[in-house]
């Protein structure tokens, strides 16, 4: 192919695009993504939307359809005000973990940005959604859109039948507990009906086989001895202690109507659907950013992307992976794009071009020569916490100049615990990993007991890690919601896990019939 032909390979000229451009860009990106990077993706659906539609999508957690609730209206009003005032830009894209994988791209993007967005979302995120073990375990990409559709119409029909207010109170309460509506560990699959029947039959046969009339003559057990085991047995029956509060309420709360249980279930299912996303933010963005960076560079090398477009891409990319230092006014936590991308790049370098330090720290992958294969495995098998714990290299700790600070309320000052030196690498790595550990970040709150025979009071424990108590105003409000749902008194004890001492207690009683329709 001649040089002029090379020039004419460019996918587009200038910033304007039309649907043909997007198709061409998609085809070129797909060739690199599937052919060279070996990604494995759901079928893609790319939807072009306007600014207002992007604001709409923002306010329903990025989902294309969602049930109605005032909090989404609040989100929308806030985002709109910020956007109109020019205080906040909009994302270039939103991608949904569904099959087919839907990516929203904004009509205002330039042709370069559309190419970037396709590489980032339609291939980077898409690959991660399809392959990462958390998503595979917890989410059903095939069913989510249909489920949301069901949820939306179910909530709407409840509003029609029981009144908007009753539904609103219920959703308020459910949203307040949404973070405590996820199963963190896979549960035993409930037996299906066939095996249930088989078990029943076996049990009966067993009883018949061991039947002996003599047993009848044994004296009965004295009643008093059972006291301890009654408590145990009750807790076991109620599956206590239980950290999935919404699940417990759905199954056990004595005064809820069937439709209320169903709505709790909907909120719980949606929380569960988003649960993997919160645990893989860093990796997900790292994977997508790494993917788009690789693809865009390849397209440039192959002549599909002009120099001007490449400059525009690099400008945008650099903005995305910018990490301000802690004393910078723009600092708002560690940028997952920056750290994620840096770690992916670092792993790729370790695979192909390791130095002695890499060999010492990562003997398994250093110099194995297969950067993409290694990364694909990592994207499949890790989440943020384990990923950092395993792969954050001393080189990156030095690069970001990470340091750890411990702030103990009993000390007059804070103490620098570790910096980027030999003594600090592992501690920094651990501390950073903990920052991404959902189980460590979210307060550990469990339902421990309920007195079903007596006043039915629900008792919860918060094991206050490092004696950090819950935000008091919020606790009061959330407990009120919880009491409304439970229908009886609720007590939350904050406990120091080191000494089992009760640090603080909060109690709430249900408010009349707020959740009863017609009131």
């Amino acid at each position: 192919m001649s040089m002029e032909a090379g020039d004419s390979r460019a996918l587009f000229q200038g910033a304007d695009w039309e649907f043909g451009t997007i198709q061409r860009a998609y085809d070129a990106v797909e060739r690199v993504a599937l052919g060279e990077l070996g990604l494995n993706v759901y079928m893609n659906q790319i939807e072009v939307i306007s600014t207002e539609q992007m604001l709409d999508a923002y306010s329903s957690i990025g989902m294309p359809l969602f049930y109605k609730h005032w909090s989404f209206g609040k989100q929308f009003a806030r985002n709109e005000a910020l956007y109109r005032a020019g205080m906040q830009g909009l994302a270039y894209e939103i991608v949904i973990n569904s099959n087919p994988c839907i990516s929203y791209i904004m009509e205002e993007n330039t042709a370069t940005m559309q190419t970037l967005v396709i590489a980032h979302a339609a291939f980077g995120h898409n690959h991660f959604f399809k392959n990462n073990y958390l998503f595979r375990q917890w989410t059903d990409a095939n069913g989510i859109l249909e489920y949301l559709d069901f949820a939306k119409s179910y909530v709407a029909s409840c509003e029609e039948r029981y009144g908007e207010l009753a539904v609103e109170h219920l959703l308020d309460a459910a949203h307040a507990l949404m973070n405590h509506g996820v199963h963190r560990y896979p549960r035993k699959r409930p037996a299906d009906l066939a095996s249930e029947e088989r078990r029943e039959r076996e049990r009966r046969q067993h009883e018949e086989r061991i039947y002996n009339d003599l047993w009848r003559t044994l004296p009965a057990k004295s009643a008093g001895r059972e006291d301890n085991s009654v408590d145990e047995r009750r807790r076991a029956l109620l599956q206590l202690p239980q950290e999935n509060i919404l699940y417990f309420l759905e199954k056990t709360a004595p005064r809820l109507q069937p439709w209320q249980r169903e709505i709790l279930r909907i909120v719980r299912q949606i929380a569960q659907y988003f649960y993997p996303q919160s645990q893989t933010k860093l990796m997900n963005e790292g994977c997508a950013t790494f993917t788009h960076y690789r693809i865009m560079n390849r397209l440039h090398e192959q002549g599909y992307l002009g120099d001007g477009a490449m400059m525009e891409f690099l400008h945008s990319h650099t903005n995305v992976v910018f990490q301000p230092t802690f004393d910078d006014r723009r600092y708002s936590g560690i940028n997952p794009y920056a750290l994620g991308f840096a770690m992916m790049q670092d792993i790729a370098r370790t695979c192909t071009n390791p130095d002695d330090e890499d060999r010492a720290w990562f003997p398994d992958i250093a110099g194995n020569g297969d950067a993409m294969g290694t990364l694909r495995d990592i994207w499949t098998d890790y989440r943020d916490e384990s990923f950092i714990l395993q792969f954050l290299s001393p080189r990156l700790i030095r690069h970001f100049r990470l340091f750890g600070v411990v702030d103990d309320v009993n000390q007059p000052t804070m103490r620098v615990d570790a910096i980027h030196d030999e003594r600090g690498y592992r501690r920094i790595r651990q501390a950073l990993a903990r920052q991404y550990d959902v189980a460590w970040l979210a307060p550990d709150i469990q339902i421990v007991d309920v007195n079903l025979a007596g006043d039915r009071r629900l008792i919860l424990h918060h094991r206050a890690l490092n004696r950090v108590l819950l935000e008091e105003n919020d606790v009061r409000l959330v407990l009120q919601h919880l009491a409304d749902l439970w229908g009886y008194d609720v007590l939350l004890k904050e406990i120091d896990p080191a000494s089992d001492a009760v640090l603080k207690e909060h109690a709430a009683s249900p408010r009349g019939n707020l959740l009863r329709p017609g009131n």
Binding site: E168, H175, I419
Partner: protein, 441 residues
């Protein structure tokens, strides 16, 4: 891969959520609206705009760790000078050491700002206000009818004859019954005449043809006579149907005493009341006219500026203003076509000899044609009477009280301070649950 263009999808997906949010935060928004309207000039009282809500009112609580106490760990990028074991004093106001703990959900926001559209603003501003029931009933009663075309009918007055439709019916009937065309008969006649005039051919040859032609012409003519060109069956008339048309226009009469005893403050109170009434009416009628009538011992219709700002001296004869109002009504605003609202502001003075005439004018002429008539007595700012003193009722107040007592639809209120205007206005137009309303349905 599919590319879908969603840009043309209907927008406003969040509208329902926004409405729910507005309802949820209603009391807060209402308060904010009233606060912000107090600080606005009265002229843009009905403009939309940004309002600010306190964040706690629309807070969504979650169980999360508090911002202080206990032992915390932070991990931060960008170390410049610290070595392990260094002691750092706690930063003030959350800079530096914060952040890594990362408030996940909008922790520490300021107040919540968002923009209301003009409609939403006015809605909240005039929320719960309704035209008085009396006026509503009369609005329903005095609906005029408009005649709208509604297809065709077989009977009607000749003026409404639908010519096109009639001729169309006739044409299709004539075609169906094979009525011979006039031109066809003419052609046969011409041929016959030509044949008869033709002497060159022998008569015997022509005779057969001529008699055949005569017979044909005869049959055609008979047929044409039997089948009329336009049959009564064909005739159609345009049909009209009467539809009730609600009156979509209103006129608002602003009557004000401008004699020397009315201070600027009183005029300001009156103006505020008029403006509220204007906004209110404008929301319910497509078209609202405003007529300003000022009076001393004589009355005249003036423009707005003169009404409010031009000083005038003289005595006070209220009935002149009512006369003027009646004159304007009879000239320009037929009560059948217009919803008439009257609002009168005065300090209550009237020449005592005029009171009877005022009362009778009001009862006999004005109130019957008005949807609503409000009397606002404006007083001096800070006018209050120590307990034990009985305030003397003004002439006009006493006069009007008699009218009200007789059950006439007249509303009257006293206002002394600017802050009272809005409550009084709300009070006048507040939605009332009529006692007999439920039963009468």
């Amino acid at each position: 891969m599919h590319i879908v263009d969603r840009r043309l999808n209907p927008g406003g997906k969040s509208l329902a959520n926004r409405q729910r949010f507005m309802r949820r935060a209603k009391s807060l928004i209402r308060k904010a609206v009233h606060e912000s309207s107090a600080s606005r000039s009265i002229k843009d009282a009905d403009k939309g705009g940004e309002i600010t809500l306190p964040i706690h009112g629309v807070h969504e609580p979650t169980l999360r760790r508090g911002g202080s106490g206990g032992m915390r760990e932070y991990l931060l990028p960008g170390n410049k000078e610290y070595a392990e074991g260094d002691r750092i004093s706690r930063p003030q106001g959350g800079a530096g050491g914060r952040g890594s703990e990362g408030s996940p959900e909008g922790d520490g926001q300021d107040d919540f700002r968002f923009a209301l559209t003009q409609e939403e603003f006015v809605d909240l501003f005039l929320e719960d206000l309704e035209l008085p029931d009396l006026a509503k009933r009369r609005v329903a009663d005095t609906e005029n009818l408009s005649w709208n075309r509604a297809g065709y009918s077989v009977s009607g007055s000749p003026a409404n004859l639908a010519l096109m439709r009639t001729v169309r019916n006739s044409l299709s009937r004539r075609i169906a019954l094979k009525r011979p065309k006039t031109s066809e008969i003419e052609r046969l006649t011409e041929e016959l005449e030509a044949l008869e005039a033709d002497d060159e051919q022998p008569l015997a040859d022509r005779a057969v043809r001529i008699s055949a032609l005569r017979e044909e012409i005869d049959r055609a003519t008979r047929r044409a006579n039997l089948i009329p060109y336009i049959d009564p069956l064909d005739v159609r008339y345009k049909r009209f149907e009467a539809k009730p048309k609600p009156m979509a226009q209103a006129v608002m009469f602003c009557l004000m005493d401008v004699s020397g005893s009315m201070t600027e403050h009183m005029k300001d109170l009156a103006k505020r009341f008029y403006i509220l009434l204007y906004i209110f009416l404008k929301r319910r009628y497509k078209h609202v006219d405003v007529v300003f009538i000022r009076h001393t011992h004589q009355a005249q219709e003036v423009d707005e500026d003169t009404f409010f700002y031009s000083p005038e001296t003289g005595g006070t004869v209220v009935s002149t203003a009512l006369d003027e109002m009646l004159r304007v009504v009879s000239e320009r605003y037929r009560p059948e076509d217009w919803n008439i609202y009257g609002a009168q502001a005065s300090d209550g003075d009237n020449t005592s000899s005029d009171n009877d005439r005022t009362a009778s004018l009001l009862t006999r002429a004005i109130l019957p044609i008005c949807q609503y008539y409000a009397y606002l007595e404006v007083g001096r700012e800070g006018e209050s009477f120590p307990p034990g003193f009985v305030r003397r009722e003004s002439d006009l107040w006493q006069t009007y009280s008699l009218v009200v007592r007789s059950g006439a639809p007249l509303a009257m209120r006293k206002v002394n301070h600017r802050r009272d205007i809005y409550p009084v206005f709300r009070d006048l137009f507040a939605k009332k649950v009529p006692a007999g309303a439920e039963a009468s349905h």
